[in-house]
């Protein structure tokens, strides 16, 4: 089974067999409900005809064609080069083009915390965004690079009727039938298509000024933390969020004095805290909560005359809620205010004294749209300072005419100094966001699952004077995740993954200017291998391949017009899962699995010469540490400037979990040194550490029911705090 170790494969087969038996009885008793019987379902499509791929994806902006043509020439040129390369190059020089067998390795990336994924270029969840059957291919099987920049620029709405029409248009076929039926029931008329609407162009916006969305200034600067969404520090206090469990019925956020290891306070939360921040004397939590927007506080005058307010929601909605606590007195945090906006929060960051909160509010046909009497189609906000809920005004809503998915992406900026909040929304928004150096990028895969292309639409915005300013957008072939992006001096680099129907995968690198116009691209990576990790560093892309070959590949992106592969280093029996760049020292840490011994291995590469990546040192656990146990779910992170941590769990003979934390140092003279190793045995998964960080030679480890403190030098546990 996909290249696993035989004994592991056998074990998995046994487990599968056991559970298949277990489920057999339960499975047999599930019957198809009447509503889903074919004869009933057929009625649903009586008035629907199959549709061809939407025209709008093919609507190339001919006025811009001249500019784009240059790009296509580059692409065609590069394709030509690749084709010639394919023909002329000996096998070892172009192995990625000649692989036929597909072997998969057992490597799990999905357990790596999001922040680590982002920092190291995690690619494992690319697959979550794949849609459709494959990209457009040329005759030789190498896909075209497709840029589809159109004239359909987002525009701010004039009124609610216009918004309503857009939503109707976005929900064609069944969705529109249901929606319009819902509208009729609600007494709302208008079937005018968005295509007939006179779009309002956006006023010219001033050039964006640099800001720093990327910086999360709230974590202690010298402590990078495994899973910082759960554990943070300001240098003096530890802040730790613990999910509800058998010991604690509600989720709690603990504030602990790092010196005395005493609990200063425990905040009982209403819901899962998806993120929290510490800013000056404020603790800011972000939750997704029901009834966060009290509709009885709705200000009626925020809705224009075109829409009957009686038909708006008075029902409970899940909303993203920001709660600000004053923690001047850590023993007694005081709730200062709450702010909520429609939709589920999926991203946030703090920079330049501002919290940015991004949520998605979906108008799905089966619920929201079909029942306008119970749900609003305009998103709302609530601010406890004024104790008022408000629908967004039409002019706060930016309409993206290129989208066919009726989703609002809500973007709020909370000024942490003044407490002011500014909210805007993009209708036809995205489900992913990248906070660039001076911009916000919203991007989403083509949401039509039956679409033949795998395309991603990216919208670039600046955020000035608390105003979301649309800059430009672009549609490219391939799928992205947050580590795909690299913004530098107005240039945007994108790494995209583009699976083909023949089993091969094409990896694209794009370079775009500030107007999202193509400056160059590279499509030379076509292979059956998977890319297991990737990162940007010093105008280079580093990526690792696995399956048929294990290679570390470098791509030079310093010149957008000449993006090219500069080095491919063979890594025998080494599947790298994580790359950690250290740009100041021109080194690259790589954590992975030795496929021969099936143990984890840490390597350090010098990238001084991008054409000759040099292996500086290797640490293999089985050989160097006399370890016989298997490590699972290993995770590598920089604890501080001089310490690299590896967190991994293992199972003992009784299948009990043991969490291991290994701390390494590295310098070019002495290589990698294992300085400390901490182990925690437990009969229960909840008791083992799952977060850790180092503050001034003191290691703090966090588990669901305790926080422990260790002296890194002596490895001695100096304190243990049981969380009640």
């Amino acid at each position: 089974m996909n290249g696993m170790q035989p004994e592991k494969e056998q074990e998995l087969e046994q487990e599968l067999s056991y559970f298949r038996d277990q489920f057999k009885e339960l499975n047999q008793q599930i019957e198809l409900p009447d509503s889903l019987q074919p004869e009933n379902m057929q009625k649903l499509i009586e008035n629907i005809e199959p549709t061809k791929q939407k025209d709008k994806l093919l609507k190339i902006n001919f006025r811009r064609l001249a500019g784009i043509a240059a790009c296509f020439l580059i692409v065609v040129g590069s394709v030509f080069v690749i084709r010639n390369h394919d023909i002329q190059a000996p096998t070892e020089q172009a192995p990625q083009l000649l692989m036929n067998e597909s072997i998969q390795e057992d490597c799990d990336f999905s357990q790596i915390p999001e922040t680590v994924k982002n920092s190291v270029g995690f690619l494992g969840d690319y697959g979550q965004e794949f849609y459709g059957e494959g990209a457009v291919c040329q005759d030789d099987g190498i896909p075209e690079t497709v840029f589809l920049q159109t004239d359909d620029e987002p525009f701010y709405a004039d009124n609610y009727s216009q918004i309503k029409n857009v939503i109707v248009d976005m929900n064609q076929g069944m969705d529109a039938i249901q929606f319009e039926s819902g509208l009729e029931e609600a007494g709302i008329e208008s079937k005018k298509s968005v295509r007939d609407l006179q779009t309002r162009s956006i006023p010219a916006s001033p050039p964006p000024q640099p800001s720093h969305y990327l910086e999360d200034s709230l974590s202690y600067s010298n402590a990078e933390i495994a899973n910082p969404k759960a554990a943070k520090t300001d240098g003096k206090y530890l802040y730790y969020f613990v999910e509800s469990g058998s010991n604690n019925p509600t989720p709690n956020l603990y504030i602990v004095d790092s010196t005395t290891m005493q609990i200063e306070s425990k905040l009982s939360m209403n819901a899962h805290v998806s993120e929290f921040y510490i800013y000056d004397n404020q603790l800011i939590t972000i939750e997704n909560a029901e009834n966060a927007i009290p509709m009885d506080k709705l200000s009626e005058n925020t809705v224009d005359d075109a829409v009957d307010t009686q038909n708006f929601s008075k029902d409970k909605l899940i909303a993203s809620q920001v709660t600000v606590f004053d923690i001047t007195n850590h023993k007694n945090p005081k709730k200062v205010k709450t702010y909520a906006q429609s939709g589920i929060c999926f991203a946030s960051t703090v920079t330049d004294d501002t919290l940015y909160l991004v949520s998605n509010y979906d108008m799905t046909p089966s619920s929201t749209i079909a029942n306008t009497d119970s749900n609003s189609f305009v998103p709302a906000t609530y601010n406890s300072s004024s104790n008022q809920a408000q629908y967004l005004r039409a002019e706060q809503i930016l309409i993206n005419p290129q989208s066919n998915f009726s989703r609002y992406t809500m973007v709020s900026a909370l000024d942490l100094k003044s407490g002011e909040i500014y909210t805007q929304s993009v209708l036809g928004g995205s489900h992913k966001v990248y906070f660039g150096n001076d911009d916000i990028y919203l991007y989403s895969a083509n949401d039509n699952a039956s679409q033949a292309h795998r395309m991603t639409h990216i919208m670039r915005f600046s955020y000035q004077n608390h105003q979301l300013q649309y800059i430009a957008d672009q549609t490219i072939s391939g799928s992205l995740n947050s580590s795909s992006f690299n913004a530098k001096n107005g240039e945007l680099r994108i790494f995209a993954i583009d699976p083909q129907v023949d089993g091969k995968t094409v990896y694209h690198v794009y370079s775009m200017n500030s107007k999202m116009q193509p400056m160059g691209s590279f499509d030379g990576l076509v292979m059956e291998d998977e890319i297991s990790s990737m990162c940007y560093m010093n105008d280079m892309i580093f990526l690792t391949k696995q399956n048929q070959t294990n290679e570390l590949v470098t791509i030079d992106i310093s010149n957008p017009e000449n993006i090219n592969e500069t080095c491919s280093r063979n890594l025998t029996n080494f599947n790298i899962s994580t790359l950690i760049p250290k740009p100041n020292e021109n080194i690259l840490f790589a954590l992975g699995n030795d496929t021969q011994t099936n143990t984890i291995k840490l390597c350090v590469f010098s990238i001084l010469n991008s054409q000759n990546i040099e292996l500086l040192d290797t640490y293999t656990f089985a050989n160097s540490d006399n370890e016989t146990e298997q490590f699972y779910d290993s995770e590598v992170f920089l604890c501080n400037e001089s310490t690299i941590g590896i967190l991994a769990y293992s199972l003992d003979d009784q299948e009990n979990a043991k969490m291991n934390l290994c701390l390494f140092s590295f310098n070019r003279e002495n290589g990698l040194q294992l300085n400390a190793k901490f182990e925690q045995n437990s009969e229960s998964f909840v008791e083992v550490m799952n977060h850790s960080f180092i503050l001034d030679d003191i290691l703090y480890t966090f588990s669901s029911n305790s926080i422990n403190r260790y002296n890194v030098q002596t490895m001695e546990r100096t304190s243990s705090l049981l969380l009640d």
Binding site: M1, M41, I48, P50, C107, G127
Partner: protein, 179 residues
């Protein structure tokens, strides 16, 4: 799940009866996958309906009739993911009644209920994503490779995640058995 390729071909040409016939061949699987993944019969019906209509609307874009199965599974998977996102914070538990009320035979229910409860409780403890993998591989009997294709994730990821998830379920069932 065996799909009649000829029927798919006719459905691509707009034949509604053929599409209904193709649906008939896969409806049970679609429903079971949705039910186990979402844990709610109501939501499962929603998702299957949406998948049915979306598939019909998009079938002309299907380039290869042989790809129908992974194609519709992807649509289902995306629909399930959307639903999961909607209530990932609203409720993260399976509705046990949706599973335990399935049988009309009360004697049978009593005899097997403890095992089923343990199974459902073990499922409850999984994340929606883990549940989805278990549903495809264990309950529907698809291979890791097929599951990876349906879910659009690397095969290695699915494989190791499945390995760990089954261990987790086994442990949960054992703990439940001790109670």
């Amino acid at each position: 799940m065996v799909v009649d390729i000829d029927a798919v071909r006719k459905a691509r040409l707009g034949d509604k009866d053929s599409f209904a016939e193709v649906y008939r061949q896969i409806a049970n699987d679609l429903y079971k996958i949705s039910l186990y993944t979402l844990g709610s019969a109501h939501d499962a019906q929603d998702v299957v309906s949406e998948t049915f209509i979306e598939a019909y609307k998009g079938i002309k874009n299907l380039r290869d009739e042989n790809s129908f199965k992974p194609w519709i599974m992807r649509i289902l998977s995306i629909r399930c993911k959307r639903k999961i996102k909607q209530y990932i914070t609203k409720r993260d538990q399976l509705d046990i009644d949706d599973f335990l009320d399935l049988s009309e035979d009360e004697t049978s229910l009593e005899e097997s209920s403890s095992n089923r409860i343990a199974l459902v409780h073990a499922l409850q403890k999984l994340t929606p994503q883990e549940r989805q993998i278990v549903v495809y591989t264990v309950i529907q009997g698809y291979t890791v490779r097929e599951t990876a294709e349906f879910l659009g994730a690397p095969q290695g990821t699915i494989s190791s995640k499945l390995h760990r998830t089954l261990k987790k379920m086994r442990k949960q069932m054992e703990e439940k058995g001790k109670e």
